[in-house]
Subunit: 260 residues, 2 copies
């Protein structure tokens, strides 16, 4: 059998791509481990799973088994308090890891659902944890992923606690743009996988407000908005809107001793 029999490779690439062949290689888990140890990581990662739009990946209260790396599509995670009003805690794009908030727990503390037709790789946590004991780089990377998750939550806290509707939405768009750039895609023209309702829920705004702000940004020539298609026309202005100048240095500080 000639070793240039390409079809075999492309079928593999559709169904069982291993990490070293995956296009998301540079933004996913692999950079965390040595080339030489990559096969150990690959050996525990389960063949990817396909999720039609709207399919739950896991639900709050489910036993925690795996982390999931998003390969294509997009996932949202929701927190459902007893009273039923859900809150979307995050959106996950290709190359990002879903489920970190449940790591180390027995059960999932949130639910995850595909926003559009998506594929994910499952990473069984029990095996990952064991492997992390052997591979210091992997353990370290897991810590980094977790602290990154905390940071993104804290950025959102800041947004919800202190910013106007306009600032929340512009900051959100810029964050999505940055994550697109990370995958070598355009940072000025992208498709939002989530609905206006989802954006509003995530940012603590009414859907009407989201709609109005987007319209206004379009009218002022900052954006071009076509449904879920967004094009950034005036990035500088967008950044200004996302981080309103702070005349008020009220400060959460007890002592506002400027650091010398």
């Amino acid at each position: 059998m000639p070793d240039n029999l390409l079809p075999v490779i492309s079928i593999r690439s559709l169904h069982e791509v291993n990490c070293s062949e995956c296009a998301l290689h540079p933004v996913c888990l692999p950079p965390a481990v040595d080339e030489t140890d990559l096969d150990q990581l690959e050996s525990i990662i389960e063949r990817r799973r396909t999720l039609p739009r709207g399919t739950p990946l896991f639900r709050q209260g489910d036993a925690f088994q795996s982390l999931y790396a998003v390969r294509s599509g997009a996932i949202k995670t929701c927190l459902t308090p007893p009273d039923g009003a859900e809150h979307i805690t995050g959106f996950y794009l290709p190359g990002e890891i879903v489920g970190l908030d449940s790591l180390g727990r027995t059960h999932h503390g949130s639910s995850a659902m595909a926003l559009e037709s998506s594929t994910v790789c499952a990473i069984p946590f029990a095996q990952l944890e064991t492997l992390a004991l052997k591979l210091p780089g992997l353990q370290h990377h897991l810590f980094k992923l977790l602290s990154a998750e905390i940071h993104s939550d804290q950025q959102l806290l800041l947004l919800l606690g202190k910013r106007s509707a306009e600032a929340r939405i512009t900051a959100f768009l810029l964050a999505v743009a940055t994550r697109h750039k990370r995958r070598q895609l355009s940072e000025n023209h992208f498709h939002l996988p989530m609905s206006r309702t989802d954006i509003g829920n995530h940012l603590g705004l009414a859907i009407e407000t989201v709609s109005r702000v987007l319209t206004r940004l379009q009218q002022t020539g900052v954006l071009e908005v076509d449904g879920k298609d967004i094009r950034i026309l005036d990035r500088e202005r967008l950044c200004q809107l996302a981080e309103p100048a702070a005349e008020n240095t009220d400060g959460a500080g007890i002592n506002v001793r400027k650091l010398s």
Copy 2:
């Protein structure tokens, strides 16, 4: 030298208490490791440090060296975006670990400051990380601590995104009460270590709103408020206020297929 020379022991207990003797033993790190390995953990923990009120423990941008276990007092952590308006991301009470959000990073992503005269134990992270490779229980516990941190941030997100001023404050008070109970202290009568300004900043409310809500809760007989001293008089009512019934099951769900 007689081994019942108590003064020596009590001096130790003031300045260098080791974990096994520490009153916070059950709520801090030690439960994570086997009795037999506790000395390994203790050997890397630095002698406790005293912080007068208002002293920074670390500042955003400082090199990340250590985690800190709060022994006494209280610590707040702040995020300072470029524009200067700080946001308090969390409060840390005795037995809790500060600095987890920077774990795995080279620099601190937030600042920490003592709210009142406090003492902390420093846990050098480089050594902790190495130790975690040898002690599976410790690694697992670190993961748990990180996911708990994420959870508390997400609870706050929910609060800031969806709840009224009254619900934010009542939920906040209940959370503080729960953390007191964890330390075997009264869950119905406690002292808030932070100012109204800090509470407002943390919950995304104006200080005046905090004041008004507390006054109202006092007038309706739910609380007794005396400055920073809080006494819960009607816990049931307080819980009701913290989780307003949800008529609107609007749902962040694409498919609201009830789980069968």
